[in-house]
Amino acid sequence: MQFRSTIISNQEVSPGYFRMRLTAPPELSGASPGQFIMVRVRDAIDPLLRRPFGIFDVGTIESEFPGLGSATYFEILYKVVGKGTEALSDYHHGDHVDVIAPLGAGFDLGDPAEEKILVGGGVGIAPLYYLARSLVQRSRVRFFLGGRTRDDILCVTEFERLGVETYVATDDGTLGDRGLVTDVMERHIREDGRPKTLYACGPMPMLKAVADIARRTATPCQVSLEAYMACGMGACLGCVVKGKDHSEEAPDYRCVCKDGPVFSFDQLKWV
């Protein structure tokens, strides 16, 4: 659906990273973890295109005025990287943006008996919070969070508050273990032989490493991809990735916006 949304709050949670809460129609409560939104940051031609964001959380708040009932909201987590996010970061409580949501295919929550391992890199943790909140009610959840430095490690407390065991790794060792979060994750999951499912979102090198671990350990794995896109509804074909059977003769391109953003790792071509 397409709706005009009011910004409730827009807070810088770490240098260059913002968490924004916005109003939504009640139907958005039905969004699945892993689905995303497209925001038109300004009613102007610059920036021209909408910007995609993973849904960080969806919820309802009771009105501060008695008798007015509750209102639905959602949250996004974003890093200021260009014109669009720069403009977003200037918004305050009461400002409006045009939103299309929810879009795409979300995560499969899987078998509750199996442990869930979440791996996130930088701002890629955004869709994993809403996922963790849905999973933790039914399964054991461990969350591995990586970044270049401590400022890239976001919302650890929020995950811990859900009852998720959280592990942190940074490239420079300024927070948590020093090194790659995927190495830390692999060490932990190899410790016991119990069945697990992996869920990952973050930069492509991290996702490749996770997919590689999934293949080597024969662990089911779902990845959420980020892509540059113009429309979010399968028309522009700008966001495609290669599916597992792709070849020039028999093209197997998948739209990140429509077929994803969440894919089972074995549905994609990783080389």
Binding site: M1, Q2, R40, I45, D46, P47, L48, L49, R50, I100, A227, Y228, M229, A230, C231, M233, G234, A235, C236, L237, G238, C239, V240, V241, H246, E248, A250, P251, Y253, K258
Partner: protein
Amino acid sequence: MSKPDLSVNIAGIALRNPVMTASGTFGYGEEFSEYVDLEAIGAIITKGLSIRPKAGNPTPRIQETTGGMLNAIGLQNVGIDAFIEQKVPFLRTVSTPVIVNFFGNTVEEYAELAERLDRIPEVAGLEINISCPNVKHGGIVFGTDPKAAYSVVKAVREATIKPVIVKLSPNVTDIVEMAWACADAEADALSLINTLTGMAIDLKKRRPVLANVTGGLSGPAVKPVALRMVWQVARAVKVPVIGIGGIMSGTDALEFMLAGASAVQVGTANFLDPAAAQRIATEMEKYLEENGIADVKELIGALEV
């Protein structure tokens, strides 16, 4: 005053209003049906079709630029068999005319496709893509050489009794010469402009942004160029002209009609506003109402120079 008349007729295709959706920006219609009333737009022009499915270019394929965007999709499409099997059934449920954009690598391929599309009752008309600038050995030869354009249009003309629209490339020295060649080959209408070849560079990487190096520029940034070319072509040929290029509002669309366009296509605007075509038609109607114009056709070519 009664409601103004927005209807136009392009080469025998009756449109309830002059606003069509440009090929490649509206999928096969179905993708947008949740956000826009498909019955409120003039015509749907589907994604460029080829005989066999086409993979398209590697990524990155698109890049936003100031007031526009570059694309080098590379004509990725499902091919005509999948189109008939998977896309036509939905289009059958819509009363809005469906125009199929298509392309080939040879004159024979164009003719073969035209022949097959001719047999699909749901197809109201054909739009020949002779101007996609992205694919090596793609349409570019036909789109920049008047003789080659003539032979393709002629072959398509002979293969179908359905209305034939030719979509012109702006990447030529003299677009009027191309228009003449297509009109001589008995095209029923001309649509212009396709995208302008452009480029974006990543300073940090010292590399082109697009994997294809160059891409087609579209969006508000190209509108002045498009207006100029529509004006030049419309006064030079007798066949109807369909204006395309950065149309974002009813005002933009009406400017194209003043320049001589009998209808318009909305492209890039669909990406940021999936209901753009419907909104633009409404804005046009509002303008006519407010200015006491009974019929949108009064504005076609009404530019005073």
